[in-house]
Every structure is written in structure tokens, then in C-alpha cells.
């Protein structure tokens, strides 16, 4: 932000803020990061339903969920790098992490989750197929698959059984790892006692469940978009089952957020005045309208209706589609309200300020949109290398 912009911002301050608070340090990129890792965790939880909880109906989305998780995971560090004041020093988090800092966990949790959980699970899950496909492919795909499978050749029943067991085992480890990957972000906020909007025991839990909601909804959305693009038939059993899990997750998430709200109002601590002013003056649209109404209540109502009454297939598909999109917008606004909202009021509890999002620039809207689109591009590439349904080349031409 230029100094001219900051002078303008000063004029929009209401009440009193500490002079250093005029510059909001955590921008839309820090809103994006928990959104992305939330999708990773949520997509992985959906995949784990198949492997660990034996929910056979959602099998068609299993590989898609893993690839989705990987796409978003690969992009996740980018908003952090873009936001750092000195990104060239980012390696220090791995070399000399401060063990009392939740943020220092990032490097290790990320590396663990990427390599030990996600990549390994995808490797074991695809290994046999990669070997089989490579036998019939030409350059370059043949070599890509051979390299990725580490030139493995054993496709005996015993080896495949081992692969399956490995996948189960890794998924079982993966579930708490996914919780850690996204939960620590909630802890980063929840452990800041200086900020009453963030400081809460519920913060990591709310983050986690909103992540599960968004991840499941994202896989549902992708499935319902990609399958028709391939001119194939949507498996409604699968979609209905996913929607029911989404329904349970939305109920839990809604209950948690409602609990937080009621609890704050009831205890009525000193910060309640400025936080109420924050919601009414600065966050009304993003919180009341988008997060709660459009992102939570409307999807909840739709899912309740579908669970209780029989809705015919085409309408159900449309409703699921709309619901999934609303949920994405809603969960993104959850992150927005936490990160940006938490910086819009002064720690003196006496004033409010505004967030002026830049359009261009390393922390601007354009960068954020680019980073939001990038995972889908990566997913398209990954789907070419690791086709989720059938062999490569089985995609029907348009």
C-alpha cells in the first residue's frame, strides 16, 4: 500500500486506533491460504470415507478427491510466499523454527502431509494402473508413468493387496494429519490473546469443520462438472451419499458457529461492544448475508428438504450444484470475516478501520484470483497423468 493510500485510509478510521494499526498486515492472501488448505483437508476426508469407513457409494469420487487435494496442496504455499515481507528467507522456517510458534509448524506439517500422506497414497493407489497403462502407451506418457511408478513392475495379486493395505494404513494416518494441516491454522488465530475476535478455544474446531464442509462440497462440485464434460453419466447414488455427508458436516459446522455466537453474547465480555460495531458496520454483508444466510442457512435448508422429501433427479442435481457453489462462497467468506474482520477493529477496542484491497500488486485481487484458478489448472494436468476413471485415452471426444 502506498503512503497516499494510507493517508486516505486514515480519514476513514472511526474512533481510535493505535497509530501502527492503520496498515493491515494480513491481506486477502491470508484469507486464501486457510481456504485452500481447508479444501485439501475436506477433500481428503471425503476420500477417507471410502478407504477407512468403507462407504462404497462414493468410490467414483475417490481418486478425484485425492487429485483435488493434491492440486490445492501444491498451490497452498504460494499465497504465503507472496505475502511475506521477505519471501527469500522463507527457508528459515525449516532451518531454525521457533518451537513455540504455531506458524513454524507449517514447513513440517506441509512436508509431512504432501510427501508421507498424499503423494504416497496416490502412488500406492495408482501404481498398478500406471504399470498396466504404461505397457500400452507411447512416449511421452509411457515414460511419465514409468518414472512415477519408480520403474516398478510387480503387479501380482499379492503386490496389489499390499498396495491396498498400504492405502488403508496411509489414509488412517492421513485423517489426523489432515486435521493437523488445517487445524494448526485455526490454532494460529485461536491462540492470539491480543485479539478477542480470534482468541477462542473453538477456533481450530470451527476452521476444521468449515474445511470439511468446503472440501466435500468442492469434490461434489467438481464431480458434477467434470463428468458431464466427459459426456458420462453422473452416479446419483454417489452424489446423494456425498450430499448426505455434506449435510451432516454442515449441521455440525452450523452448530459450532451458532454456539460461538451465543457464547459471546451471553458472556458479554468487554470486547462485545466493538465486535458488535464491527459486525454491524463493517461485516454486515460478508458475515450476515453471505456467510450465514447464503453460505449456511440456504444450503442447510436445501439439504434438509432433499433429505426429507423425495426430489426428482434433475432438480436434485441442480440443487446440489447451487448448494455446492453457495457453500464455497460461504466458507471463503468465513475465512474473510475471521482474517480481515479481526484486523478491522483496534486493539484499543475504541475504533474501526477499513481494508482497502489492492487490485494489482503482489497482495492484490488479481494475484488472489490467479492463485484461486491455478489449482484447477493443476487438477486438469493431474487428471491427464492420473486419470481418475478408466485408462487415459478412454475420454470420449466431444
Amino acid at each position: 500500500m502506498t503512503h497516499n493510500e494510507m493517508f486516505e485510509l486514515l480519514k476513514q478510521v472511526t474512533g481510535h486506533i493505535y497509530p501502527n494499526e492503520i496498515e493491515m498486515r494480513w491481506s486477502i492472501l491470508i484469507v486464501l491460504y486457510p481456504y485452500l488448505t481447508g479444501l485439501v483437508a475436506g477433500a481428503f476426508i471425503l476420500a477417507s470415507l471410502v478407504e477407512v469407513f468403507n462407504v462404497k457409494e462414493v468410490q467414483p469420487t475417490y481418486r478425484l478427491a485425492l487429485l483435488t487435494a493434491l492440486s490445492f496442496l501444491l498451490v497452498a504455499p504460494l499465497p504465503l510466499l507472496c505475502h511475506l515481507g521477505r519471501p527469500e528467507r522463507a527457508y528459515e522456517v525449516l532451518l531454525t523454527p521457533n518451537l513455540t510458534s504455531a506458524m513454524a509448524m507449517f514447513g513440517f506439517v506441509y512436508a509431512w502431509y504432501l510427501m508421507v500422506v498424499l503423494l504416497l497414497e496416490i502412488w500406492f493407489g495408482y501404481r498398478k494402473d500406471l504399470i498396466v497403462w504404461a505397457k500400452q502407451e507411447k512416449f511421452p506418457m509411457k515414460w511419465i508413468h514409468r518414472v512415477i511408478s519408480l520403474f516398478s513392475t510387480d503387479i501380482s495379486e499379492e503386490a496389489v493387496r499390499f498396495d491396498h493395505k498400504a492405502v488403508k494404513f496411509i489414509t488412517a494416518i492421513g485423517i489426523p494429519s489432515a486435521f493437523l494441516l488445517h487445524g494448526y491454522v485455526g490454532f494460529i488465530f485461536g491462540s492470539v490473546k491480543a485479539n478477542p475476535w480470534w482468541s477462542s478455544v473453538l477456533m481450530p474446531i470451527v476452521f476444521l469443520f468449515s474445511a470439511i464442509v468446503s472440501g466435500i462440497a468442492m469434490v461434489l462440485l467438481l464431480y458434477m462438472v467434470i463428468i458431464p464434460m466427459r459426456k458420462e453419466h453422473i452416479d446419483m447414488n454417489c452424489v446423494d451419499r456425498i450430499a448426505s455427508f455434506l449435510f451432516y458436516a454442515v449441521i455440525v459446522d452450523f452448530s459450532l458457529e451458532l454456539l460461538d455466537f451465543i457464547h459471546r453474547l451471553y458472556e458479554s465480555e468487554e470486547s462485545i461492544k466493538i465486535l458488535s460495531a464491527l459486525i454491524i458496520n463493517k461485516l454486515f454483508i460478508s458475515l450476515v448475508v453471505i456467510q450465514v444466510l447464503l453460505g449456511m442457512l440456504v444450503p442447510l435448508a436445501v439439504l434438509v428438504v432433499i433429505q426429507l422429501f423425495s426430489v426428482e433427479e434433475e432438480l436434485r442435481r441442480l440443487l446440489y450444484f447451487v448448494t455446492a457453489i453457495l457453500i464455497q462462497v460461504g466458507i471463503f467468506s468465513v475465512r474473510w470475516n475471521v482474517v480481515i474482520g479481526g484486523q478491522m477493529f483496534s486493539k484499543s477496542f475504541l475504533g474501526l478501520t477499513t481494508y482497502k484491497m489492492e487490485l494489482l500488486g503482489v497482495e492484490g485481487l488479481a494475484t488472489a484470483l490467479g492463485l484461486l484458478i491455478l489449482p484447477f489448472i493443476i487438477l486438469a494436468v493431474l487428471m491427464k497423468i492420473f486419470p481418475p476413471w478408466g485408462a487415459p485415452g478412454q475420454v470420449q471426444e466431444a
Partner: protein, 249 residues
């Protein structure tokens, strides 16, 4: 000796060696503490008497000059706030020197019930949330109890700025690293006073050693009722206020 006995002996030897090494390292450290004891460094604190501050902002200017803080009104290592409590019990707070940049309603002098100035700076907490959250450990406490920032290692993530309850930290626009008041560490380690204390015309700021019988700070703590900012957050600040109104945040 059969295999089992050999293994048992080997295991016991390893355990004993480990204990020995561990104890000797601890012993070495202990010897270092007792033997060549390094000179104990003084611990510093600051005291502020609200009844003396006239809000002249000499301290703000001196600090910016001494520490090369950018001149724009968005970066302060120390600043002064004006508190105005009116007869209708409403509270208005303004930042001294910033009135021309902000749109504030003018204060009618005859509505004032109480009014005073509050100088603020980094509280050099003994239990600092900022050093706790720095992911790379770039900010740390020295033996004198002063919290410094290693600007060659700070990655500019801004977590410490979020964690400070007092708004004492900011990001330097030139180096993109975090910065804050250091009690003029480069001055106090040479026996000088911090710049803000040096130029205060009414001696509202007092600087000295803690835990010493003959220090301006000890005298202050004996004669005044001491307050700190946000005590409920348990940051254990080392900036002590006398005559601090309960409404000050």
C-alpha cells in the same frame, strides 16, 4: 559368555555411557555458571507518570530521529494518546500529532470531565506474546530484558504484529521486516538514556534498572501506585504507569 549375557552387558554399558555423558554436560554447564560467572547484566524498565505528560510529542520526534523510523504517521516506536472523558461519560481518544490526518469531532473544552495524555511504547514484556509466535525466532529477549528484532532474519510474516496487544509493532516499509521500540538498546548499553526519556521536558518518562535499591525506577515503584496496560493478558510488562486512569487501553 552367551549371546544374551553379551547383549545385556552391552545395553547396560550404553545406558551408563549415556547417563555419564548427560551428567557431564550438565556438570560442565553448572561449572560454567559457578566458575567463570559472567557479569550479571542489569534489567531495565521504564516508568511513566501520567500526571506529568504535557503531550508535547518531543519524545515521538526524538525517537524517530534516533532510530531512523520512517517519518510518515503510520510507523511509531512510541506515541502519545490524548484521552478525553466528557461529562456525559463518553470517551474520546486521539493520537497526538495525527489530528490533522483524521476526521475527528472537535472537543468542547467545557464538556471535559477528565483529560490527560498517555505515552505508549513497547512494554518489553517479561512474558512476551511476540517472541512466542515468531516462526523463525527472529525476535528475542536479551539478558537485560529488552526485546530485540533481528532484521537480517525476520521474514516479514506479521504474526508478531498481530500478537502484540499494545500495537507497539509495525512493518518497516523499507526493509519489509518488523520493527519496534528497543528501549534505545544501543544507548542504554552505553550508559545513556533512551532518546524519549532524554528529551522529555517534564521527566514524565523515567528509565532505570529494576531489582536495584538505588534506581529511579525503584523509587518510582515505592512512591506510586503502579499500573500496567492490559494486566489481564499476563504479558508482565516492564513499562509501569502511575496515575493511569482505569479507562486507558
Amino acid at each position: 559368555m552367551n549371546r544374551r549375557a553379551f547383549l545385556r552387558t552391552l545395553g547396560a554399558t550404553i545406558v551408563r555411557a549415556g547417563v555419564f555423558l548427560g551428567l557431564s554436560r550438565a556438570g560442565a554447564v553448572g561449572a560454567a555458571i559457578e566458575g567463570a560467572a559472567p557479569e550479571e547484566k542489569p534489567r531495565y524498565g521504564m516508568a511513566i507518570d501520567i500526571d506529568r505528560c504535557i503531550g508535547c510529542a518531543r519524545c515521538m520526534e526524538a525517537c524517530k530521529t534516533e532510530n531512523n523510523v520512517p517519518q510518515e504517521p503510520f510507523y511509531f516506536r512510541t506515541w502519545v494518546e490524548r484521552y478525553v472523558i466528557k461529562t456525559d461519560e463518553s470517551l474520546t481518544v486521539q493520537n497526538v500529532g495525527m489530528e490533522k490526518y483524521q476526521i475527528a469531532e472537535p472537543i468542547n473544552e467545557w464538556d471535559i470531565l477528565r483529560s490527560f495524555f498517555v505515552p505508549k511504547l513497547c512494554n518489553q514484556c517479561d512474558h512476551p506474546p511476540c517472541t512466542q509466535v515468531c516462526p523463525v525466532g527472529a525476535t528475542f529477549s536479551t539478558e537485560e530484558g529488552v526485546i530485540l528484532i533481528d532484521s537480517t532474519r525476520c521474514i516479514g510474516c506479521g504474526y508478531c504484529i498481530q500478537a502484540c496487544p499494545y500495537g507497539a509493532r509495525y512493518l518497516r516499509p523499507d526493509t519489509k521486516t518488523a520493527d519496534k521500540c528497543t528501549f534505545c538498546y544501543h544507548r542504554i548499553t552505553k550508559g545513556l538514556l533512551p532518546a524519549c526519556v532524554e528529551v522529555c521536558p517534564t521527566q514524565a518518562r523515567v528509565f532505570g534498572e529494576l531489582n536495584t535499591s538505588a534506581s529511579p525506577l525503584t523509587r518510582f515503584k515505592r512512591m506510586e501506585m503502579i499500573h500496567v496496560l492490559k494486566p489481564h493478558l499476563n504479558t508482565e510488562p516492564k513499562v509501569f504507569y502511575a496515575n493511569l486512569d482505569g479507562l486507558v487501553r
